[in-house]
Symmetry: C2
Subunit: 297 residues, 2 copies
């Protein structure tokens, strides 16, 4: 089984062409819907009283929700703006709301999960949650600049407790205080993670293990409308594929990274979760095959 | 035969760790030495009276120099500084010297060249030179921001006269006034080029033809000392490989791009041309094979 822990949010997303207010978002939302095309994941997260029924129905369609808590108060809200290149996002406002006081409970039936993904979240909370699992074969975490700036030691500690770290290039540099991504990945591996996956947006990703690098370009897209959730969809697709294969073999991991790229590419083609939620399994396999052909020489 | 036209320079290169003054450089120097590992290229370029014998000997070791003119005056000089990430270079000084009044002559024995590379140079001069050739199978040109800003129409005209354009990502965006590299490549193809290769530095390259994209990651390197000439080495290695195969088939072109990445990776491992000039052919094949293994999934 695959369990995903992290945030479910109501997002306000501002792109140069459109503003979406109060749409379904959050790292765990994107990651778990993405993973759901490979296995049915369990979600541990919290929503508020204001969480719309239609968004609950979307989550319920794709996920096991026995780990989803509804608390008194408002759902976590995020408001961000993209620049005209769609490569840079600035945060306008973050309202933690029910996320601030959330005390996550791992349902008993999740505790045997062999695959666990800690989507971006408070590293102290992540560290507490990961210890609740008994039979982990493969765990992975992400983090962002906010936690690196405010709780760097806890981030490092968390990374020592998982098998794998997935992280953006800029955040990897910030965290490890180096400009070279190979050096950066090595440092994260010294802290205890066996695998490091650095996400580079439109430039794809780098998977590191032992002294090996596996670079994979992004699936090339001409029309990107909303990059929100691309990295989370990448991570969810990746661990979802591994969970479906029940495997942590290197060959599976390399394929999983390509599935990650493929899922990220679907995410950015539509606003919000729509790029994922309207997807058919056959489209994923088709794009994976196109990807294989694309990079062949 | 392969002919390369462009600049030979005496460079001053400032990296955060070292300053090199008056070292052998220039787009055509890097491109032609890189190409020389595949075929012996003819070089059309100009040097001044001050050009050191030891640098002449390097060129003479790798290249056919019947197209190299020595003019009265000083050699073209370039002075540039890299920032601490080694990703951004600022120009401190450019002295055209003998390059300013150069009237390139294509030696008769070069005129039958089937492969011609116009390294970065005045687009008007490039356009004049390319017309001197009779039996071109594959021609390619590069350009930089200076020409895009000062002679954009001539750059576009030049691109309509070659089969292939190789260009940096930032310069492609500047030239085509778009942020999306697929859109950018399409625009350049509308101007007449059949193939477009966009170089993305540490992120590798994108080859475009018809409606197809071939992304190839850079060969991952932990220690980069001097990025000068990486793009020129890429282009030279690419067209050198094609010339050695006497082929413009797509499968050859895709392999050629990978050889381009490989040659670029050698170029940045040492200061100036040393990364290329000390290279053995067997190292290139070895790295090509490593690359193949690196990207496999």
């Amino acid at each position: 089984m695959l369990t995903i822990f992290g945030s479910v949010a109501l997002d306000t997303i501002r792109t140069p062409t459109k503003v979406l207010r109060g749409v379904l978002g959050g790292a765990a939302t994107f990651a778990s819907i993405s993973a759901s095309f490979f296995v049915k994941p369990g979600l541990i997260a919290v929503i508020g009283q204001d969480f719309p029924k239609k968004y609950y129905n979307i989550l319920n369609k794709f996920l096991d929700l026995s780990g989803l808590a509804r608390a008194n108060g408002k759902t976590f809200r995020y408001d961000g703006s993209y620049d005209e290149t769609l490569s840079h996002r600035t945060t306008n406002k973050t309202e933690l709301n029910v996320l601030g006081s959330f005390n996550p409970v791992v349902p008993d039936e999740y505790k045997k999960s062999e695959f666990v993904y800690l989507a971006n979240n408070d590293p102290v909370q992540n560290t507490k949650v990961i210890k609740e699992f008994d039979g982990i074969k493969f765990s992975m975490c992400d983090t962002i600049d906010f936690w690196i700036s405010t709780k760097r030691d806890d981030v490092i500690k968390m990374m020592g407790l998982v098998n794998s770290v997935v992280i953006n290039d800029e955040e990897a540099k910030l965290l490890t205080k180096t400009q070279n991504l190979i050096k950066s990945a090595k440092k994260i591996m010294e802290w205890g993670a066996e695998y490091v996956i650095i996400k580079k947006g439109e430039h794809g990703s780098l998977l590191f293990y032992e002294d090996i690098v596996f670079p994979s370009p992004a699936f090339s897209l001409e029309n990107i409308v909303d990059p929100t959730g691309a990295g989370d969809s990448f991570a969810g697709g990746m661990i979802g594929y591994m969970a479906s294969k029940k495997s942590t073999k290197i060959s599976t991991l390399r394929e999983a990274v390509v599935y990650g790229n493929v899922m990220g590419s679907f995410a950015v083609e539509e606003y919000g979760v729509r790029g994922l939620s309207k997807l058919k399994k056959s489209q994923i396999q088709k794009r994976f095959n196109q990807y294989k052909k694309m990079v062949h020489f």
